[in-house]
């Protein structure tokens, strides 16, 4: 085996080169590059953790806002309902009042109209009595030749009509 046969003649060379190469490897790559890469990985991990924390905080804030918003919404809805109910009640009262007033006016007008009607009827009645008594006087004169006084005719017509 050359590894054992050659060990005495090559150990110094291998030793020297091994230490040289491993020294460079350790100090340049092991201590230099690895620590830089580690720092980079750590920075990334920290950034991710920070971002996650920020997102969590924002979510909690949004949850709070949503809860507050729904409270406000409920309050506003309640208020609106109360206002609508009040408006409805007021509207009903107004309508009632107006209806009552209109009713009163209409019944007043009706009463006046009835009074007018009664007067007109009385007048017409009187007119009819006159015409009838006159006609009765004429008819009696024509038919029987008897003279009937206007007063007699009028009382007779009155008795018939009433």
């Amino acid at each position: 085996m050359p590894q054992i046969a050659q060990i005495l003649e090559t150990y110094a060379s291998q030793f020297f080169w091994m230490l040289l190469v491993f020294g460079i490897l350790y100090f340049v790559i092991g201590r230099g590059m690895v620590s830089k890469i580690d720092a980079n990985v750590e920075a990334r991990d920290r950034k991710i953790a920070d971002d996650l924390a920020a997102a969590e905080k924002a979510r909690a804030e949004a949850d709070g806002l949503v809860a507050g918003g729904s409270d406000a919404l409920n309050a506003a809805r309640g208020e609106a309902q109360a206002k609508a109910a009040a408006a409805k009640a007021k509207g009903a009262k107004d309508a009632e009042a107006r209806l009552a007033k209109a009713d009163a006016e209409i019944s007043a007008k009706l009463a006046a109209a009835e009074a007018d009607l009664a007067k007109a009827r009385a007048k017409a009645m009187a007119g009819i009595e006159n015409v009838a008594s006159e006609a009765a006087v004429d008819i009696v004169a024509k038919v029987s030749g008897a003279k009937v006084s206007a007063a007699q005719a009028a009382s007779a017509v009155k008795a018939v009509l009433s």
Binding site: P2, I4, F15, W17, M18, L19, I29, I37
Partner: protein, 251 residues
């Protein structure tokens, strides 16, 4: 066995020691370059990572997780060491499996199949445990050898066994990696020899009867070896993190 041969590419000398630039050194540099390229591809450091950056972050995150799960928050300090060990072993293992042999004259070399290299890695791991343990706990570190609940009449035996198991760690670390790489590569070499010699055999029945099953088996063994490459790197990193845990938290 030629694949484990170390060939000098350029002669170098330092204080009487032969530190020639060899194919082993070349592959160490190739491994280093490959790791650097891989890591550099993920250095854009964007907030939203691309695919390459994702892969790089996956590897660093893997080591980070391993350290924090086996040591705890204090494990962060040892991430560079374990990361370097893991990446070097992983890339060296994979680099040794690269099909560079299709280029005539070139062949892949597995850096981690040499005891000297695995010993250096194991000593780095073991030395860190010793230094951290003694630095953090002083002489109290030696309470590591007396586990909780040891009956007093076993105090002469348990610390001895614990000490022995502690001292054996670097050898087990180094030998495990060395043996896994060597054995896997030797097995592949043997099967490849069956395929080639079977095809070249004069008797015609040898090729379909020996070379073909060997070839099919070799595909499976190659996949298994790729798995072993990753597992060995993982095992080395995991054991190192567990040993450092002993030093940091005692037990």
């Amino acid at each position: 066995m030629h694949q484990f041969q170390i060939e000098p590419l350029a002669k170098l000398d330092l204080f009487g020691y032969d530190i020639s630039f060899t194919n082993s050194s070349l592959f160490m540099l190739v491994v280093l370059a490959a790791i650097w390229v891989f890591m550099a591809g993920g250095m854009k450091r964007e907030l939203v990572p691309g695919r390459w950056q994702m892969a790089v972050e996956g590897v660093t995150g893997f080591i980070n997780n391993m350290m924090s799960s086996s040591i705890g928050p204090e494990g962060k300090k040892y991430v560079p060491l374990v990361f370097s060990l893991f990446m070097f072993i992983l890339f060296a293992n994979f680099m040794g499996m690269m099909p560079i042999g299709i280029v005539p004259g070139a062949h892949a070399f597995t850096v981690t199949s040499h005891l000297t290299v695995t010993a250096v890695l194991a000593v780095l791991s073991f030395g860190t445990v010793l230094v951290v343990g003694l630095w953090k706990h002083g002489l109290h570190f030696f309470s590591l050898f007396v586990p909780h609940g040891t009956p007093w009449w076993l105090l002469w035996l348990i610390p001895l066994i614990e000490l022995f198991s502690f001292l054996i760690r670097p050898f087990s670390l180094a030998l495990r990696l060395f043996v896994a790489m060597t054995a896997g590569h030797v097995l592949m070499k043997v099967l490849a020899g069956f395929v080639i010699n079977g095809l070249n055999a004069e008797a015609l029945w040898v090729a379909p009867l020996v070379a073909l099953p060997s070839f099919i088996l070799m595909i499976g063994i190659t996949l298994l070896e790729l798995l072993v490459c990753a597992i060995q790197a993982y095992v080395f990193a995991l054991l190192t993190s567990l040993y450092i845990n002993d030093a940091v938290n005692l037990h």
